[in-house]
Symmetry: D2
Subunit: 340 residues, 4 copies
């Protein structure tokens, strides 16, 4: 195989993003896109450049020419498509979260594992050049043993109510990226989760049994700590900062600004804002993650974030919700035991 | 009164610091210093410039010429000196913490209140120009309603074991400054404290029933949140950063570096370290706080941090210890009820 | 015309860069590439994606289907191709400098003007997002009247001797970008040029009657000033900083770093280097400039940098050389007068 | 001698600044202050703390108890006082410039040399911690051989016309600090000076045969270069930046801001201004320079900036004026030859 023949299930914002990156990549050939609606694709470049556009995802799953599927449909459909795709021998790239239900996720991952297909989860931030450099500094021992991982992760704008309803809650929708990043950067697994959360922005959140602001403290098995602070609305732009503090030093990644320009006047010294939107901030990371997926299929490179990583982040999101709801520290072992 | 005639009880590191600042100030006259030992003061400027040097603190307390006393002796002696000094009608500047015992603190403050003397606690960071500017931005509504107060506070070097033993524990010795800063910056009082802490550096801490690393989450009465992360050892220097995040923006204070010099070579781009020691970092703040104390005595200016602020920070330190020990969220109301 | 059918003359580093950007753009169709050698294109994407690959530039110039030509061949061939292409009615995008000879440049521009074709010069930095923001701040009056334009422009690595020989000298090869930027940012034309230059790196430069380091001061017609400092070798990376100082303020653009990561240890606080290579630093600017060229052809948008801009920058480069050689201030009027 | 008994001639802004620092220093005793007027000193701390306040400078010069004199009177009186003080055996600290006339300066320095007294010039910036660190990096070979020294030096506010009249012109009054800094940082002496200057702010300057904006290029004897850009008015604050670029790297000093606070809102990201006034920006440097002078007298430490440094900076200021007036490059040898 010199190019990966690919299909995309789900052509919303994120599906189209992957479609564009796949079309621009020399390692992929985009054969098909499916979505429950296809009207919005009329007149786009996909109509001309993608041979098959269909409302039937099974067409893609059953197409013997297709090597790999990108699952970008709504979360509740992921598990089902994963299992079908795996059984059809397709490599799978699945958007986060894998599902809203741990058991469902486990089952889907088991099918994929038995089928022997590659399975990557869309934790794009692992491929961000800034965070990658933080990771490498930790791996290279530049800061010694990690003691505290800190993440500030704030969206620029609160989502509309429709989105909140279907999001699975802030922890599953937004913090899940931070949970994955915490695991990626630390050298130990999370043992306990403790959350203080609040609804400080507007009623859209509380009405939907959700929150908009949270401090999440994580205790690792080796005794070290992590803390995430989240907000659904940072009016100054997308705030994405990370630091890992260890006994030999600190490595930290600042926000990426739109430009490096500074305007100094009598009134003020003004800098440019952080990049406002995740599609802009992580533009290159989205390209990198599909290159890595290609490298795992074509070159046998080890996956950087696999199904297990998706599952673990989901478990942290569930633990966080439980901690919030019951106002107590939740141990991951509690959730594991559910398994039996 | 045109100058405040002053005595200092306790001539250790912090007592000497205040002595120097008082000697350099035009609003104070330093008449006396007492300490249990006075040998270390021989040959210093104090011998020449301070009329009375004694091992008997009562000499200062009973001296009718003395207007104000700086209490810089060991914490266990504070309450006793406060009461005696207040009854003798002296204004009091007391180093933090007021005592290790809330009831003792309450009693001392009550005596001071009844005596009608000024009482300031040595929360010097309130007078730091960076943090003061953060405070003003919050007060001026620049960031709207505060949602999350964040403090990173890390000492450059772990203290010796002897110090740890007598410190009252990390929360009472070190975090107490951060507790005060959280209260100073937010617009609400703390309702709950939740701590995850660890001993990650070396055995000196655990042997003395203490910790060296902690994440402390605070819930305010208005529902907003704060988080403090502490470490007893940041090898790159004294790490003192603060941010307040609100619905209209973010105000943050970065570390103060030794210089603004950057060296760019083939190997690296290198910046100067943060100022290494608290005496250097807060040098100007220590001067400002005694100027403010002078202004309250001489000009009737309102105190910026009074006895009540000292008490409240102590209660947060105790709540933090309890939260750590019992691995649970502690409400301040629990501690209040002890009062009855 | 919905897409611009395009040919590229010259398939070296910069020609290939444009080829890639053209192939990835929806507004262009790349029909042909010519170069005096075509062996190096075998096995590349061009072989598959570009219908015509030839050693004969005239094939492109005479092809009636081709709307626009990118002239990326060696500088001594530019003028000739420009004239032929213009007479054949092709729109022209020409790499800098247009030629090494002002009269030749004038003649080529005259032919293009008479033919009524669009003519853009490859001053890509005008399209850099940082510098564009500086430009806009100046235009918007944010800094009042410009008094001093300052540019630091240093290459990361000195070129090989072969390159130096054919470069036309540092002023024509490298400073020409800065000359254009000075004109772009200021609101007046240059009246005088004064240069101090030196050969400080190695003999490759002096052997070829060239220099590697220079301070170039420019006096504008309105009396304001500009200063450029150049070096052929900045070991810490590609150094590209700009500031415009005016009576109401300062606008400045810092270097763009590879990442925003900081590593703080006992030894040092280390930042990432500036992006090392111009192809990386100006990657997006190279895309923007051909989009702008397309917009001028397809949408009638006014050109951002036209032939006259190319000519003026060349004149400044010649004046700089004369100033260096004769160790005196050279007025642009001297060079203009040559015209008569 | 354990303390230096000191007198100050001239009690204007800078004389009072030195008086305060001397009074606060343990190495000096301030015995006397003279000024042509002494009314403005009534009711100040000097009245109480300085034994002698007089309108007669000769009282100080002839006082056998006085070891050292600070000459802070108007520039036209410096040379005369230097000679008298030197002949009376007093060590001399003289404010910049030594005089407006090179021959006068040479003569004064000769007398001081023959008298064998210490002679320091008030180039306070050599003692600034930021610039000192730049100096040390250059000395330590961190950036290899210096190729280009760059200084941006801009006053926050243009001086009143009265000041301009008596200033000796911008080069002698303001740039003289930068000329000294260029010499301090480079490893070679200046051979040539080339200036482009302008009057862009208002008529006060041209009316007094002065300018407000300049680019000054310096050529060193070893072929390396320096460039200074000056303005009499930077509305955003006192702009004092320095960089030294060499074949192994770059060392640069940024402005010192009032605070490190950043306010991020929907509208902007705002930083604090640079310190606004030279007394604030160089507060510590002014203290350091008199400590260094004390160390040279009391401990035999070598002077950091001696009379020769004062003379050389003056010569550069004169060369700059000549270059501006005659619009040509001026070699220092021309001025030297005047000597004969």
């Amino acid at each position: 195989m010199s190019k990966i023949t690919t299909g995309i299930i789900g052509a919303g914002r994120i599906g189209q993003l992957h479609a564009d990156n796949i079309l621009n990549s020399s390692r992929y050939q985009l054969k098909a896109i499916s979505d429950i609606h296809t009207d919005h694709l009329k007149g786009t470049r996909y109509e001309k450049e993608v041979p098959v556009i269909t409302t039937n995802a099974q067409e893609l799953i059953q197409d013997p020419e297709i090597d790999a599927l990108f699952i970008c449909s709504s979360t509740d459909t992921h598990a089902c498509y994963i299992k079908d795709a795996a059984r059809a021998g397709k490599h799978i790239f699945c958007e986060k979260p894998i599902s809203f239900d741990i058991e469902e996720t486990r089952e889907a991952l088991k099918v994929a594992e038995e089928a022997g297909v590659k399975f990557q989860v869309g934790f794009n931030r692992r491929f961000d050049k800034h965070f990658r450099k933080v990771y490498e500094a930790v791996q290279d021992g530049k800061i010694g043993s990690p003691h505290v991982v800190k993440i500030s992760s704030r969206d620029p704008e609160a989502p509309p109510e429709e989105y909140i309803k279907r999001s699975g809650g802030m922890f599953m929708d937004m913090t899940i990226h931070d949970f994955d990043m915490v695991r990626y950067l630390s050298k130990s697994e999370v043992a306990q989760v403790s959350v203080k959360a609040a609804n400080l922005l507007d009623e859209r959140f509380s009405k939907n049994d959700d929150i908009d602001t949270a401090i999440i403290t994580l205790t690792f098995e080796d005794g070290s700590l992590a803390v995430i602070d989240n907000s659904r609305q940072a009016v100054y732009g997308y705030d994405q900062r990370i630091e890992v503090f260890g006994d030999k030093g600190l490595v930290s990644a600042e926000n990426e600004s739109t430009t490096n320009v500074r305007i100094s006047t009598k009134d003020s010294i003004v800098l440019d804002h952080p990049k406002y939107f995740f599609l802009d901030r992580y533009k290159e990371a989205y390209i990198e993650e599909i290159q890595d997926f290609a490298a795992s299929i074509l070159d046998g490179k080890e996956l950087c974030c696999c199904g297990e990583d998706g599952l673990k982040a989901e478990m942290l999101a569930l633990a966080a919700r439980l901690s919030w709801k019951e106002n107590r520290t939740v141990s991951i072992a509690e959730l594991e035991s559910v398994r039996v």
